[in-house]
Amino acid sequence: MANSSVAQGAQAPLEKEMARQQRLDEILSSYQGNEEELIPILQQVQQVFGYLPEPAMKKIAKFLKLPESTIFGVGTFYAQFKLVPSGRNIIRVCRGTACHVRGATGILGEVEKQLGIKPGESTSDLEYALEAIACFGSCALAPVMVIGNNVYGRMTPAKVKEVLANVGAER
């Protein structure tokens, strides 16, 4: 898990927070309050917030009449759920066999150097999150890096710089 100073960087302004609260209420209102709705709710909440904030999990617990500790248990069990705010742009670097032999270590190292974070962490401005992935199945393009839904193949450390600069420029 990323350190907590990262999480504190996510303090949204009040209006934004209230809008999110409203969004959370909207999400919950589309469910019945049955136990089995937990995972879909968590998924939807994560889509809105980018992670599972503690107050949201508490609210979900109340809504579903489930213990808070159970919500936490489920939230931490599945790899898809994040408990700390995660960067907006998720950069996934493949470390599968094919990518590895074609220099994935260097690619990952370059991303780490550029962003100043390790896999599993997010930048303090919450723009980027970094993940190391086992295989995308795009071995023909190795080494591969994926940002959002865009696949960048045949990467080199030099291209990393370029791609990141482009992503930065886009926003």
Binding site: E54, M57, K58, K65, P67, E68, S69, T70, I71, F72, G73, T76, F77, Y78, A79
Partner: protein, 912 residues
């Protein structure tokens, strides 16, 4: 009973239908190793050690989750089974931190036991030890340590927390190798919703959850918890005259092994350095002053028993001679045993010659006794905890059960969570049980009569009353109907603030239930309309025929460990033991013969009348045993003024309580663990209290002190021991007629128990009511004595919190309890707090017409807007300085639950 025959290891085994294979084997005395099985918990199948081979089933099956079936052939010790178990065990123990010699659990470690049984080899385990995870030890809790490095993920703690106590503080979190038991947010346990009951600690099979202070005892003594009225049975572990361990008694009829935070961790007050060890006599010229504190030796000098008793006897005799026996009053104690209570009321009546004996039941359930007797002829709880197991609908009104009677609270939560029982909660504050309720009625404080009348109105309107029951077993129905008719849902909504729809829904739920019982606490009784409230509860039960049957009943939850017993023992100004009236000539004659003296037939003064009587000069001397009225009376400043004026005050206690500081003579008493006797719990169960340790210094059991004092006043009471006192009680008290110490060893006995072979009475009124027919009372709503005004715009209600007990004499001297909740708070809704500009922890000054206090604010939605809640445990912020001493006209119970106050912010900030 349906049974099943099966074969285990070639032996035929017969078990109850529904038993698992594991239970069948254990029943037959065949050991199967397991780490996650617990008879009190649902089968889990987590550890995979209990695997067995069953003919006709493929592979190995876990015996704890497989139901036994007819003709099954089970083998528990085949090579295949043992190989599997060994590998499983090696994996479980691979990363276990094996500091067994120093581990607190090493005496009862299940892991060690199973490892030994399976013959685990160190070398094979080391081979598996890939990496040693080191998780930080969580020692945030004052009572126990969580060392997850020793956790084997059997989930017994998680399941106990969920299935037994329903606190749900922990669950299994994370995944794979990182899986571990975690609180919400993986925070230290003390920051979680944990209620510190220690059920998890008691069930942990390894050293992952261990008490911080426990030592191995030399011996164990079975006794009864001295905190609330539930009456939990427990074992105190003793070593070097100290309590070094505590465990719930799995056979305890009230608790079945469970304990709450106070019952499990709250006993170090016994060996607190401030215990009174010798009699004290007030130094000449030191004025009696409320709120006195400081150096004991500046106010008192130590004295011998001879000197203290001689002086006490002399002063009491002087007062009696100069002003008459009615100038002296005694206060007994609901914390003391039945025997102590019997002896002090006998002392006051037979030696002093007055009926001026009362105790704190006046302040908690006096209205129950009066209202209950009026409706049914008996003021006690009509049913038993075992009835709660059969109840379909619980109606809880004015009781924060999970905080004040935690073991009953958990029982109700279990019934709702696992058995589908329904629950209606009527309570001005939002309480934990509300989360379990089908319907929550948040009525305004003091509007209980209107609310219940509203429910009855709907029940009658919609024809849901039990017509046959009303015809056969009750009287006064018509008169009541006339009043109830006026309480339409619309009117009741206007009075109580509860919506019409909710009133109707609750009435229908209650009216249609096959079996319902009403549980209530101080929220009903502590009002100027306390007796009316109790009568309303009785009306509702009579109307729907929910009394005198299994699963139904009238359940006032008595507060103190022995408040039922102290009432039974006649520590009340109008009745002898067993509620026999002092102004009944035949009763008086019986006691005169038995006690060999003349007795007064004039009912005595009640606690709540004392202050005025002292100020008027009617009461000159007061003998207080184990009570602390200086904090527990309403409108304290008035009471303090009175007590400062009294001529002579004796206080007998285990600590220098706030009342004892004002005494002329202080006599050191023995605490519950230092004496023999009996307590009677709220379900009328008389249970044995056994001496586990010696009293400190020269402290003596209360009854012995009173006997010694009586001796010096010329009356030989002559008891050899407490069993002899109980024999005398039984001979004079019909409802205790069959109670003898030797009959109480196992489960105790529930009164009425009229003769020596009577098995006791689990629920009352099966055949008829004690007064013949059950009586309906026409009860109209009367608003509380004090209402909010411009000057005092907030309603104050007082009460208890889970971690503390009454005036804190004991619980504030128990380290764990004190650390968990070190200081008093004023609970307030966020909107009120915002209006006053308060943030969490700000010091707030709360003022009523009668006094003011300062305490940090705790902002919480538990309090509805307009209502503040202050627990009364802290002398630094004594809630009762604010409370109203207006009394119920019949029961003379004060209105603790409604006072008008204002709150203001104090500049300086303190942490709560």
């Amino acid at each position: 009973m349906d049974t099943i025959k099966l074969t285990v290891n070639g032996r035929q085994v017969i078990v109850k239908k529904g038993a698992t294979v594991l239970e069948a084997a254990l029943d037959a005395g065949i050991y199967i190793p397991t780490l996650c099985y617990d008879a009190d918990l649902k089968p889990y199948g987590g550890c995979r050690l209990c695997v067995v081979e069953i003919e006709g089933m493929r592979g190995l099956v876990s015996s704890c989750t497989t139901p036994a079936t007819e003709g099954m052939v089970v083998r528990t010790e085949t090579p295949k089974v043992n190989q599997s178990r060994r590998i499983t065990m090696e994996l479980i123990s691979a990363n276990h931190h094996g500091d067994c010699l120093a581990c607190a659990q090493n005496q009862d470690c299940e892991l060690l036991k199973v490892a030994r049984y399976l013959g685990i080899e160190q070398q094979r385990v080391d081979r598996l030890r890939k990496s040693t995870q080191v998780l930080p030890v969580d020692d945030s809790h004052p009572a126990f340590i969580r060392d997850l490095n020793k956790c084997i993920l059997c989930a017994k703690c998680v399941r106990a927390c969920h299935e037994i106590v329903c606190h749900d503080a922990i669950d299994i979190a994370f995944r794979g190798n990182s899986a571990r038991i975690a609180t919400f947010g993986d925070k230290p346990i003390v920051e979680s919703v944990c209620k510190s009951c220690g059920e998890c600690v008691a069930r942990c099979p390894t050293g992952a959850l261990v008490p911080k202070w426990e030592k191995l005892p030399v011996t164990e003594v079975k006794t009864i918890c001295p905190y609330c009225g539930v009456g939990c049975s427990l074992y105190l572990g003793i070593r070097d005259n100290k309590v070094v361990s505590v465990r719930g008694d799995p056979q305890g009829p009230a608790n079945r092994g469970s304990l709450c935070v106070k019952g499990r961790w709250g006993y170090d007050f016994l060996s607190h350095p401030e215990r009174l060890t010798t009699p004290l006599i007030r130094l000449p010229g030191v004025a009696r002053q409320a709120g006195q504190d400081g150096k004991v030796q500046e106010i008192f000098r130590e004295a011998s028993w001879d000197e203290a008793l001689e002086l006490a006897a002399k002063r009491l005799l002087e007062l009696k001679q100069n002003y008459g026996p009615d100038s002296i009053a005694g206060l007994s104690s609901a914390k003391c045993t039945n025997e102590d209570n019997y002896v002090i009321q006998k002392f006051v009546r037979a030696v002093i010659g007055t009926n001026n004996i009362d105790h704190c039941a006046r302040l908690c359930h006096a209205s129950t006794v009066v209202g209950g007797i009026a409706a049914f002829g008996q003021g006690a709880m009509s049913n038993s905890y075992s009835d709660f197991e059969k109840t379909e609908l619980f109606f809880i009104i004015g009781s924060n059960t999970t905080e004040c009677h935690p073991i009953i609270g958990s029982l109700i939560k279990r019934r709702v969570r696992f058995d589908g029982a329904k629950l209606i909660v009527a309570e001005p504050r939002s309480i934990e049980l509300g989360e379990y309720a089908t319907i929550v009625l948040s009525h305004k404080p003091g509007t209980d009569v209107a609310l219940i009348n509203g429910l009855m109105h709907v029940i009658i309107r919609d024809g849901l009353e039990d017509k046959e029951f009303i015809r056969e077993r009750t009287e006064g129905f018509e008169e009541m109907c006339q009043v109830v008719e006026r309480y339409t849902p619309e009117l009741v909504e206007a009075i109580t603030g509860v919506s019409k729809a909710a009133i109707e829904a609750a009435a229908h739920l209650f009216g249609k239930a096959n079996s319902a019982c009403v549980l209530y606490g101080m929220g009903i009784t502590q009002h100027t309309t306390g007796t009316d409230n109790v009568k309303s509860v009785a009306n509702l039960l009579l109307l729907t025929g929910n009394i005198g049957r299994e699963g139904t009943g009238f359940s006032p939850l008595r507060g103190q460990n022995n408040v039922q017993g102290s009432c039974d023992m006649g520590a009340l100004p109008n009745v002898y033991p067993g509620y026999q009236r002092v102004n009944d000539a035949a009763v008086k004659a019986k006691f005169e013969t038995a006690w060999g003296c003349q007795l007064s037939d004039r009912p005595g003064l009640m606690v709540t009348e004392l202050a005025d009587a002292i100020l008027k000069g009617d009461i000159k001397g007061l003998y207080v045993m184990g009570e602390n009225p200086v904090l527990s009376e309403p409108n304290l400043e008035h009471f303090w003024q009175a007590l400062e004026k009294i001529e002579f005050l004796i206080v007998q206690d285990i600590f220098l309580s706030e009342t004892a500081w004002m005494a002329d003579i202080v006599l050191p008493g023995a605490a519950f663990a230092e004496k023999d006797g009996t307590f009677t719990n709220t379900e009328r169960r008389v249970q044995r209290v056994r001496q586990a340790i010696l009293p400190p210094g020269e402290a003596r059991p209360d009854w012995e002190i009173i006997c010694a004092l009586a001796e010096r006043m010329g009356k030989h009471l002559g008891y050899r021991d407490t069993s002899q006192i109980m024999e005398e009680i039984a001979s004079l008290t019909p409802i205790y007629g069959g109670i003898r110490f030797d009959r109480l060893d196992r489960d105790g006995l529930q009164w009425p128990c009229p003769h020596i072979s009577h098995p006791g009475t689990p629920f009352l009124y099966r055949e008829g009511f004690a007064r013949g027919r059950g009586k309906f009372h026409a009860v109209d709503y009367i608003p509380p004595a004090e209402s909010i005004s411009k000057k005092y715009p907030l309603v104050l209600t007082t009460g208890r919190i889970l971690e503390h007990w009454h005036t804190g004499t004991m619980s504030r001297r128990a380290n764990v309890l004190n650390e968990l909740r070190p200081s008093g708070v004023v609970e307030m809704h966020p909107t009120d707090a915002a209006r006053l500009g308060l943030v969490e922890g700000d010091l707030v000054v709360v003022t009523s017409k009668r006094g003011r206090l300062k305490a940090p604010v705790h902002i919480t939605e538990k309090s509805p807007p307009g209502l503040v809640f202050i627990p009364f445990h802290w002398r630094e912020a004594p809630a009762n300085i604010l409370t109203n001493d207006a009394l119920d006209p019949l029961a003379k119970i004060p209105e603790y639950k409604v006072s008008a106050v204002k709150a203001l912010r104090q500049r300086k900030k303190l942490r709560p």
